[in-house]
Symmetry: C2
Subunit: 334 residues, 2 copies
DNA sequence: CTGAAAGCGCTTACAG
DNA sequence: CTGAAAGCGCTTACAG
């Protein structure tokens, strides 16, 4: 078996207490003992057992991360930021893929509790009362990512979805578009759905453009749904000059469909996305979109969570800045 | 604090040994005690502490996963398969992003050792002696994903890279192409580099086409490098009718560059990728590519690892089937 | 059918 | 400066 603290204590002729002390630079030992201990640690290739340590410290130095879909580009950008920050601060991350399935979410929350994670990052899903209650019970900090809640003590980090959508549509209008369709995300989604629709409507309104309900379609944020929505738009509202999609994936689905229907983008129709995934730069033409700084959001959320873990204080929610990234899918109408 | 086994024992008027027994359905207690215990567990909302359990069982029910880049589409497809299998078998996964940096790899391996993971999934990187030695020391099973090794007792799961590249180029040749360029991955990469180049060369050879060294360029698997390589090809070898890239990202980079240079794909130039990421379907035109079943590879590797953990046996390596996915970036030359 | 006790590998007062 | 001992929350022989 791997050597334990006992083994090094024996070999170095000291007590395990002393070994523990030099391990943690706690002082209270002579230089000579320190050297002896350090050396036997090396000889034995001793590495402390984090599990034993966790049991006694009631800290596992690990945080749990819940994603609705780990394999989405959205999640992986976030995960990258999270992983970076978390590892640099001596924590590890265990990931759970909830598959936007309420049952699994609850199951995973329980699992994370058993594994005694020190905190939880909860992404892209509304925090149901059921979850909140369990979380309360667990007495560990949580921070929400790209989501929002009114429950006390659970901070979130996200962009202002209303404003971002507003700005996107405003941008389109300023470019001369007036007949603008929207491909929204999941109908009724309180975070990434409704507020973005509101932004769309208010931007139209601010420019005196009447809202046309046949210009509003729904998808589920994924590529295929963007394709489908675009077909509907092309069929029912061919006069539209621009479409704003509530996710890059849907925008790209719309792009493909437009091209397959023989349209040129942006000459015949303009398309604008939402997210600025790595994807957005890769398609042809490169997608104009509103950027969520996902990597940063992941880092900031991690920072807040770790701060809460270590200080016991409640972190403030944070609204990150979005921006419009101009590429080549929107044309100016004169 | 959360209730412990002691709390339920007290409240149920039994010993902790008995609680533990009913927890594990070990038998050796009356129906009445079982009921009493079950009920107090519910009342107290008791959940066992996996850390304490791990300490004594020397099993943490968690596996470590090392990726060179968690945020790549490649890794996330893999991760999805891994997460699915692993959670269904009562394990959790902690992910580590090595950033293709040897130092971090070693550091993470050590971290995973401290955290006492039961096994490790090591992805997309060559297993250096240094890593192997440490892994030996740790005495836990490892399986390699999309990689390969001669070290004993470490199985891998991947596709046959030589054959897959061969088949891709063979496909292109059968479609009538003879002047075929290749955008290889990292020069000297023993897994995803050299074998794919060999496949390219052998396929040409088998059809009596001379290898032209100016048709072979190098990238690093990423989008930007594919763009750059394509520029070189367009400039130095404009007579080329098809390009085979060793990753979808590079293929898509090449695609974008071709289009930006005013070429039509596949009319003016054909492009073929490698991987079949979700991306491949999303671009325009949709990318013809060689498919690696990444989700399945993730699941199979997880299955092998867990089998090794639980049985102590060494799993067999496995070569998964690749296939050619015909989409719209390759034309037939007659 | 049930409980007392040892022990997993650590940390941390406490005493000297 | 150093060590003996208790204890973290469990599991598992062992004894009855």
């Amino acid at each position: 078996m791997n050597p334990t603290i006992k083994d090094v204590a024996q070999k170095a002729n000291v007590s395990i207490a002393t070994v523990s002390r030099v391990l943690h630079n706690l002082g209270g030992y002579s230089d000579k003992t320190k050297q002896k201990v350090d050396q036997t640690i090396k000889e034995l290739k001793y590495q402390p057992n984090a599990i034993a340590r966790g049991l006694i410290n009631k800290r596992t130095q690990t945080i749990g991360v819940l994603f609705p879909d780990v394999s989405s580009a959205f999640s992986s950008d976030l995960l990258h930021g999270i992983d970076e920050f978390v590892h640099n601060h001596n924590y590890s991350v265990v990931v759970c893929n909830t598959d936007q399935d309420g049952k699994r979410t609850l199951k995973y929350l329980q699992l994370l509790r058993e594994k005694q994670v020190d905190g939880i990052l909860f992404s892209s899903e509304a925090l149901k009362k059921e979850y909140y209650d369990l979380l309360e019970d667990m007495r560990i900090p949580v921070v929400l990512i790209s989501s929002q809640t009114d429950f006390p003590n659970v901070p979130y980090v996200k962009i202002n979805d209303f404003q971002a959508a507003y700005d996107a549509v405003d941008y389109l209008i300023i470019k001369g578009h007036r007949r603008i369709a929207m491909i929204s995300g999941t109908r009724g989604d309180p975070i990434a759905g409704t507020p973005r629709i509101e932004g769309y409507r208010k931007a139209l309104e601010a420019h005196g453009i009447a809202f046309n309900s046949s210009y509003l379609t729904y998808g589920d944020f994924m590529y295929e749904s963007g394709s489908r929505a675009m077909k509907t738009i092309l069929q029912k509202a061919p006069e539209v000059t621009a479409v704003f999609a509530a996710s890059d994936e849907m925008a790209i689905g719309a792009l493909s469909t437009a091209i397959q229907h023989g349209l040129n983008v942006p000459e015949d129709i303009s398309i604008m996305g939402y997210d600025d995934l790595r994807l957005a730069r890769m398609v042809n033409p490169p997608l104009t979109t509103v950027r969520q700084p996902l990597h940063d959001i992941g880092m900031i959320a991690s920072e807040k969570l770790i701060h809460m873990i270590e200080s016991g204080e409640i972190a403030q929610s944070q609204i990150c800045a979005h921006s419009i990234v101009e590429r080549q899918t929107v044309r100016t109408i004169t």
